[in-house]
Subunit: 370 residues, 2 copies
DNA sequence: TCGGCCTCTGATAGCGCGATCACGGTACCA
DNA sequence: TGGTACCGTGATCGCGCTATCAGAGGCCGA
């Protein structure tokens, strides 16, 4: 191929089996003769500068000149070299996205929204996925993205503790958080989780349930905290007793475990679960324990994943518009890139979606079965 | 794309409020005084070239010189400018991923696998999401990624027709397909879908079911074709009659619709569904129609999404290792980038996961209900 | 008729890095 | 001791593009 692989020489070549860090061996690819701006300029009979102006939509170019240039561009199938462009403009036209476990529905939906908004704005999206959502891992990924010259970062719904640490030691580019980050002090676009939690809980209370149990998400996720706070607020305003909180980790399995535990509480008639996946697990555990949904136990989930309408029974839940959230985050980031100062956008109010997993608490009010 | 938006001409300056395409006004960001290689060189008392060599792990640098340089790098928090680097090496260290609806479990899991493998290899991942999986949309996104100088592309499990068209008009960089693409002639890493389909079907036949119905994925997805072919093969080798194929679009809703239709066939006792989501919808439809799972109807899904173990009943399914598939695709792509010639890797054999959605066909063999 | 100004275009000079070649030094052999 | 072989290092140049400024030409009003 190309050539070299400079390691030749070698008496003591130590070059192989080197851990993949800073250096990495970069062999130039065999040069394909791509046209450059000068080629276009020649073909169009103008100077390279004029070609540049045309491609940048600079106003002061005569229409016919522009035409000639564009014709030459099309003819040669010319494309600007983004590296050369980035070198001189100091703009990479790229933003980074830090995601946690892209297979979580919320995360992947956010990625979609962010990607779409970025594309619309002429930006590329470079993605980094962290296995564990702690500050060190996030920082590591964020740094690598920054090293790649992203102009800004979107961090997808992360742990509060991690965000706080991120806020303290800046990464060098604007950063926004998609999803809850109220307490982190970082600019963010978010959903009003407390409103969602309140809505879910009120629905169950209005249905006649004496109180509502809650299976929360991990303690240090802002989203989880908001939903929990909303649940507490709704119980308080109704004068209902607040049962002990159970914790899950968003996974279906953790919801099932919570369900196994909750099924022992025979007096329980209503549960608000902090996401749909956990609600699915919880419903299974309940049914396995002989408690029917919704006849014996009413359940409300959160997110409205596409499958939720087809759970058995179809799940009453709170819908978050993740794509919109992604778009807003991106808009915030673009503003921050342009103006240098980032702000937060007002929270999106989530939407109640009534399905069949909740029922009136007839039995209780009528003193029936329990 | 030629690009342009030639419509300018307009005597009057029409430069504001222009739709965000090629041109985009690029204003330079306020220059932050980042250190450059010369700064490091000065600090270390060497020439820029030596700094470059150290950072590229070039062998011929005296260890103590290297130390000095690395100390200076750390001191100044120097990071190489990737644009400048890319300009001269002609390597962007970036690969593109074209995904279709990132919220599909398979797609997002693939993204995870690809990202991880790319990161391990020192590459960045730029993502493009297509709304519709046709050749035009894919090509558009692929072109934009190529315009961004990605060194290669991974296309996630796409439609056969789209791939064929892609193969014919090359995009200019190596491309591999993650997921089925046997028939497309493009290099790919894939799962042996036929083996999976056969396994699922055989399981049901061995359980005593006279035959097995199939809810397939979209006709022009290679994955869907493979599973269907495996199903047909298993039926044929067992001498079972082959029922009419139903089609879904991978969505839970489409599975439910298929279920509504299948529930009318009272003689039906076993269904192999081409993915778990559709299986979920189908199970609900069956139950709504009064057919119990698995007592009346046995169901096998495909994918083993994390929720499948908590469906009601827990779903027997075929597990695909998406992350491994993503890694292999990336490896293939890296090979293609290095050697210029792409190959396919041997298909991964999916794994059978037995759960509770399938039962022996007692009734049938005993001539019982139907 | 001329100067001034606007419109359009081009020449030049980097952006920050790595490839190349040249060069001073040391080690080694005859 | 001289020559040869490196080894480690630096000077120079160019990657492809855009910012800047200068300049050619045309238009207008004085």
């Amino acid at each position: 191929m190309g050539d070299d692989d400079t390691a030749t020489d070698g008496t003591a070549t130590d070059d192989s089996a080197r851990p993949g860090n800073v250096g990495e061996q970069i062999e130039p690819l065999p040069p394909r003769p791509l046209p450059v701006m000068a080629d276009v300029a020649r073909a169009a009979g103008v100077s390279p500068m004029t070609v540049s102006r045309v491609l940048n939509d600079h106003p002061s170019v005569r229409p016919e000149t522009r035409e000639r240039v564009l014709a030459a561009v099309a003819e040669l199938e010319y494309r600007r070299n983004p590296a050369a462009r980035a070198l001189v403009t100091r703009r990479s036209q790229t933003v980074g996205v830090v995601a946690f476990d892209a297979t979580l529905y919320g995360q992947s939906a956010l990625v979609s929204g962010v990607e779409q908004a970025a594309r619309d704005a002429g930006y590329f999206v470079s993605i980094g996925i962290v296995k564990e959502m702690n500050a060190r891992a996030i920082r590591e990924v964020a740094d690598s993205l920054v090293a790649q010259s992203v102009e800004g970062l979107v961090v997808l719904a992360a742990r509060v503790s991690a965000l706080q640490e991120l806020r303290d030691r800046t990464v060098g580019v604007p950063m926004v958080v998609a999803g809850g980050a109220h307490r982190s002090g970082l600019p963010s676009a978010s959903v009003d989780q407390a409103a969602g939690g309140r809505r879910a809980t009120r629905h169950l209370l209005f249905r006649g349930h004496r109180t509502v149990w809650h299976v929360a998400g991990p303690e240090d996720w802002d989203d989880a905290r908001g939903r929990l706070a909303g649940w507490q607020a709704a119980l308080a305003e109704a004068g209902a007793v607040e049962p002990r909180v159970l914790r899950g980790d968003w996974s279906t399995a953790s919801g099932w475990r919570a369900g196994v535990e909750l099924a022992r509480h025979r007096e329980l008639t209503a549960v608000f679960v902090a996401n749909d996946q956990m609600a699915l697990g919880l419903m299974l555990a309940m049914k396995q324990a002989g408690r029917r949904v919704p006849e014996d136990v009413s359940i409300v989930g959160y997110d409205d994943v596409p499958e939720a309408a087809f759970y058995d029974p179809p799940l009453t839940t709170i819908r978050q518009d993740f794509e919109e959230l992604g778009r807003r985050s991106m808009q915030l980031l673009l503003d921050a890139i342009d103006t240098g100062s980032a702000s937060s956008s007002p929270p999106i109010i989530p939407e109640f979606v009534g399905r069949l997993s909740t029922a009136d608490a007839f039995d209780l009010t009528a003193g029936g079965r329990r």
